[in-house]
Symmetry: C2
Subunit: 224 residues, 2 copies
DNA sequence: GCAGGAAATTTTGTATACTTAATCCTGTAA
DNA sequence: TTACAGGATTAAGTATACAAAATTTCCTGC
């Protein structure tokens, strides 16, 4: 018998939270866009009450900002905030690595190896979306192996803030080589169940990303 | 002329968020308590709409949990989640230390020295509330000196989750001696503008706290 | 022609009314 | 006496209506 899935019962507002989050992450709602209640409610076909609840929830996450009596708009992210987020992510990924390495099961390790191989194939095939999906999968697996729910939740919030800026999409070849080398080193550290090593590699990995994004921001600060 | 303070214009719901957060932090609303809309709305003298918006915001922070069609209740925090939070806090404080030490101004450093001295006096005088206020102040100052808004915001969320469990209130003498020694070491690291050192001390400091809370949880898991 | 101000419109904030879902209690049958 | 069914009650979910604030537009006066 297959695993029994609990029946997911969702309220309108939580459905809206997901939809809005996706719209923001995908760039349909760009930073600074005013969230005019009437317009969006009409589009979604819901009344203002659940919509406003959803907006308040997203505001608590920092994805939208509320101006009293002047409505809500998609949070604008300054360059500093982007860099800051990468710095914090470095600490979180580092911790995840330290925790994950001693805890990881052989099955999970094998799964990550598979993702790593698939990621390389995607890159060779020019499938960038696939590449990023696998990359994300590897990091997800490490956070899952860390077995710290607070850590995973914290990461989720910060991740949504930087994923919607798809800078990452434009990686130069040299940066890619670095990233791959770091990923290879992760596998070594994981295999050795060396938490300190994995933590260090992940911190370095995020620092590389940060430097790369910082450079990108320097040279084309206008393009979104 | 004194500094001009902007007029804070608050909506009802954000006022409610603060009030509810305080009630939860102070233990008036204990984990597991159902937030019955009608009762609380009557108490606060507001209608359900702003109240519900506030509850949704707190849910996004993880302070309350929503059960579809069954209302909201104050999030129950498992022992594992408490420990997890301390672990994450260790990484955040460590990062804050690394960033703060090279950036701190002589004035801020002096301020921290003052807080440290005041903290010791409070402890000697048996003023526990004062002690914790100063302790909090020192850590606040370090996070402020780190100059990373994302880091400060992330810390704020996790902090509210563990501050409402005032385990910390019952510190044994030996633990206190350790804490003081660690704080002294922080001042040394700050004075030397040694980020790596300050980061290491703070990580150790949080690890001490974690161990202490873990021990406390082991031996009196029932008391709230 | 431009500036200032007042009215109108739009939009948000709050309250209330209505609908739907869950729980509780009672009655009946085994 | 217990277990189940069905209605009654209560509370949550959603929609709408009303009030207040902000923005826009248009008119008047200089």
């Amino acid at each position: 018998m297959t695993e029994i899935e609990p029946i997911v019962r969702r309220s309108l507002h939580s459905e809206l939270v997901d939809r809005l989050r996706t719209l923001i992450a995908e760039g349909t709602l760009t930073p600074g866009t005013k969230l005019v209640e009437k317009d969006l409610c009409d589009s979604f076909g819901v009344s203002r009450t659940p919509f406003r609840e959803a907006v308040r929830a997203l505001a608590a996450e920092g994805l939208v900002v509320l101006m009293p009596s002047r409505g809500a708009s998609v949070a604008t992210v300054t360059h500093d905030q982007i860099i800051d987020s990468f710095v914090v992510m470095g600490a979180l990924e580092g911790l995840a690595g330290e925790l994950a390495a001693p805890r990881i099961t052989p099955e999970k390790l094998e799964e990550i190896r598979g993702l790593h191989a698939a990621m390389l194939n995607c890159r060779r095939a020019g499938d960038l979306d696939g590449y990023y999906a696998r990359n994300r999968g590897i990091h997800d697996a490490i956070f899952a192996a860390a077995g710290n729910e607070t850590l995973a939740a914290t990461r989720r919030i910060i991740h949504t803030r930087i994923v919607n800026l798809r800078f990452v999409a434009r990686i130069g070849d040299e940066a890619w080589a670095t990233a791959i080398a770091e990923h290879e080193e992760m596998l070594v550290a994981l295999n050795a169940r060396d938490g300190a090593h994995l933590g260090a590699v992940l911190r370095r990995h995020l620092e590389s990303k940060r430097a790369q994004v910082a450079h990108w921001l320097q040279h084309r600060p206008a393009g979104a």
